[in-house]
């Protein structure tokens, strides 16, 4: 099984660990470095073209305006929309996370025979703003095009009153959107 390592001095007797390490760090394992050294004009271009094709296929889907479902924590089971995503994390949070604005309390079902006062009361939405790890979100195929970028910012979570004003503003925007009747999936409670 032991493959002969290439650049080993004859005086050394290689330990099994060294043998294994040499094999796995041999040039065949890193194709990019080996191909760049030999025939740079011919071998690099097909690989670059392949890489561009592959790049075109992969789609990043955790983007702003994506509707997601929060999976953990106090708001588990609630629907939210990604406002801003931090793929590589920040210094405080070294993991991929995103700022979401979600629904704490869904609007109730409005029926036709409700009076205007009752409709207004039933259409109320209570919102939350939170930084959530990607692992605690389930992305969906839905999007919600509400402009929350200027209201919900990274620093609005630092103090309680900033958070409250952000929630109040998103509540207003969500309620407007609910009243138009669009994005009905987002405003219905997830049954589980």
């Amino acid at each position: 099984m032991g493959p002969s390592p290439s650049g080993l001095r004859p005086t050394e007797s290689p330990s099994p660990y060294q043998l294994r390490y040499k094999f796995w760090s041999s040039p065949s394992r890193n194709p990019s470095s080996s191909s760049s050294s030999s025939h740079p004009c011919t071998e690099r271009r097909p690989r670059e073209r392949a890489r561009q094709e592959d790049r075109a296929k992969m789609v990043k889907f955790l983007k702003p305006n994506k509707a997601v479902i929060v999976l953990q924590g106090r708001y588990a089971g609630r629907k939210a929309v990604i406002v801003r995503s931090f793929d590589d994390g920040t210094r405080d949070r070294a993991y991929g996370h995103c700022l979401v604005a979600g629904i704490k309390k869904y609007p109730s079902k409005v029926i036709r025979k409700d009076s205007a006062k009752k409709t207004a009361k039933k259409s109320r939405v209570k919102c939350f703003v939170k930084l959530v790890n990607y692992r605690h979100l389930m992305p969906t195929r839905y999007t919600l095009d509400v402009d929350l970028k200027d209201i919900v910012t990274a620093d609005c979570l630092q103090s309680k009153d900033k958070r409250v004003t952000a929630s109040k503003e998103t509540k207003k925007r969500f309620e407007e959107r609910f009243k138009t009747g669009k994005n009905r999936w987002f405003f219905t409670k997830l049954r589980f």
């Binding site: 194709p31 592959d54 992969m58 789609v59 889907f61 991929g96 990607y134 692992r135 195929r141």
Partner: protein, 112 residues
């Protein structure tokens, strides 16, 4: 029948291609890393064993649908998939991020 019976020949070719990916490409094994690779769009092909729990299988397929990444349902259980990867443990799902010298990404989703 469309794709019901997987012949022995194609099954062996998948194993050969997987072995080549293991040797020369980049991959991750396991459910958590598969989801991670899908989220940051590093995965190019996902392979799921046939005894993967159905909820997990549909979750991986949904993520892959969002990321527009191909999913291949391996014709074997997690023990077989682990053996095909050359590992001594069970592998339920794996994600290939760089196929290396293998043509697994071009050939396998086309077959399905």
């Amino acid at each position: 029948m469309v794709a019901a019976k997987k012949t022995k020949k194609t099954h062996e070719s998948i194993n050969n291609r997987l072995a080549l990916v293991m040797k020369s490409g980049k991959y991750t094994l396991g459910y958590k890393t598969v989801l991670k690779s899908l989220r940051n769009s590093k995965g190019k092909l996902i392979i799921i064993a046939n005894n993967c729990p159905p909820l997990r299988k549909s979750e991986i397929e949904y993520y892959a649908m969002l990321a527009k990444v191909g999913v291949h349902h391996y014709n074997g259980n997690n023990v077989d998939l682990g053996t095909a990867c050359g590992k001594y443990y069970r592998v339920c799902c794996l994600s290939i991020s760089d196929p290396g010298d293998s043509d697994i990404i071009k050939s396998i989703p086309g077959e399905q």
